[in-house]
Amino acid sequence: MANSAVPVSILEAGRSSRHYWADLWRYRELLGFLAWRDIKVRYKQAALGVAWALVQPAVTLAVFTFIFGRLAGMPAGHAPYPLLVLAGLLPWQLFAAAFANASGSLVANTHLISKVYFPRLIVPLSSVAVALIDFAVVLILLVALCSWWRFVPDWRLVFLPAFILLTLVTALGTGLWLTALTVRYRDFRFVVPFLLQVGLFLSPVGFSTTNLPNWRFLYSLNPMVGAIDGFRWCLLRGEPALDPVHLGLSVVMSAGLLASGLWYFRRMERTFADVI
């Protein structure tokens, strides 16, 4: 910490720290430690450990394949139906976990927020990182299913990180709103599971959007539609090309959510310690 330049901070009402983003960078290790703590603690006394991260998506996958593939008889396209579902389930699970973690993150870390200073953004960011690790575990399921059907994705796989980012941005944007609101109004804790339940049905997790040609534009207002379509496009050969307008709409919605979430979070941040 022996730094020749001594930072000067001015504390005043309504004045946001000039060093905020620099501080965020300086505390990047804390972000990692908090994520590591959450993962470590979560699986500490669970006999099956990380396997739990696989159980839920595997069961959901089986149920969705049965309902949409068999009962509803939706067309799968070129890939086997379970792969179609899994390609939708992956981003959805990532979103759901990141969003739920981020929404509850500030209240879960009340003791830190009222006793130590650090850029508060660290807390929701680290909870999103935790979701990313669970996501990596579910990828194993994808690899397993792909090798079962001898299904090899093509060059489009390289674009997958872009859609992971789109999913994370959407989750962080909504999560920032919800976590900042929950600090003040605990009512929003009940909103999270509700939003996730509705969102699951409003997103094309169990079926392909090619089945809804008339509603695409409106549907793309849900940024997860763009993310899920993108995942399918990257992972499944022979999916139709992405419509730039629909994708652009999802990206704009997602960026808007993040920008507004950041704005609201930063605005409320200075009072967190007083009202939490």
Partner: protein
Amino acid sequence: MPPVISVTDLGKRYFLSHERKGDTLRDSLALGARGLWRRLSRRADPAAREEFWALRDVSFEVAQGDVIGIIGRNGAGKSTLLKVLSRITEPTAGRAVIRGRVASLLEVGTGFHPELSGRENIYLNGAILGMPREEIRRKFDEIVAFAEVERFLDTQVKHYSSGMYVRLAFAVAAHLEPEILIVDEVLAVGDAAFQKKCLGKMGEVARDSGRTVLFVSHNTAALQAICRTGLWLQQGRLVRQGPINDCLSAYLAAGAESAVFAPADPGRPHITAVTVDREALAAGRLRISVGFKSPFPLGRPVVGIILHNKFGQPLAGSNGRMLGERWAPPAAAAGVVTAEINPLPLHSDTYRASVYLGDAAQDYDEKREAVEFDFVSPRFYPQAPRVDVIGQVDLPWQWSLAPDGPRAS
């Protein structure tokens, strides 16, 4: 050289809200919906909000390398000041300019996770306090040695004794290297030997590395030992700044033995004042007077008093209700109830008293740790007893020895 910390007209306001709580789910929902609407529409009902300035017009400067002791009663604004300077909360008025990095220790073991091992918690806690991982790794052995927990490094912290927990937590904090260290009353915990070690470490940090330390404590001896300058806060205002001994003697002379309370709800019986008689105290007696006021006559005014040691643990208490028929004063809507203990069987130390007001059937008001007083016991012991080891209560022990005669087997 500019001051390390300069504070100008600093103020922090809180709002105390007096919202009615619904008794049923339906009431809560109705009240909640109304409250939510009010809050969202920013038309807060002014009657439901009462302002409270935890800090008001506080100005002072701190030079580099100074060790400042902050003194004052509970609720005087000491912790709020530390929270503002630590950037945990924002001031409502005024400004503070801080030159240098600040590390604050407002609580022992913030962020310790019981499920993680001692080793893991050192890294986690260090990161939370703003120490880079590399620095923690460098000081790891030193921290472990200071905490004396070598054998339990890989044990989950939930299995630690409270002493070990405190030692480990303080050890991490003691090895921080910020330019400014802010320490709230955290040394009140832990065993005496370790407290001494921590004080030594803090003094060392300030002396040798020219670091600035802000230190809140009720422990007069510790303040005298490591601080040069004192800041005395009273009801959110700075009363005095100067050499620590001047501040301490002025603070002790002013006494913290009485408190006046504004009613939280004038429609309910409430405690108006609590006073500990200083003359009686000097004579070895405790005399506490509790003033009360009520919108209706209290059938049998009942006052309860609990004495606590300086850590807040209850030592002894009594109340009019438990006395039954022996406590039968006339009904009164206002008055002063006085309780006396003569002699007060306690050792020299700092004590607090909580007071309660009620009638024969129920309690109406409570003021937890309403007053704090320093008691100097008139009973003389050639070897001063260590109250943190033997406890604060000074019972009339009778000692005897039966000599072992030649006939005994």
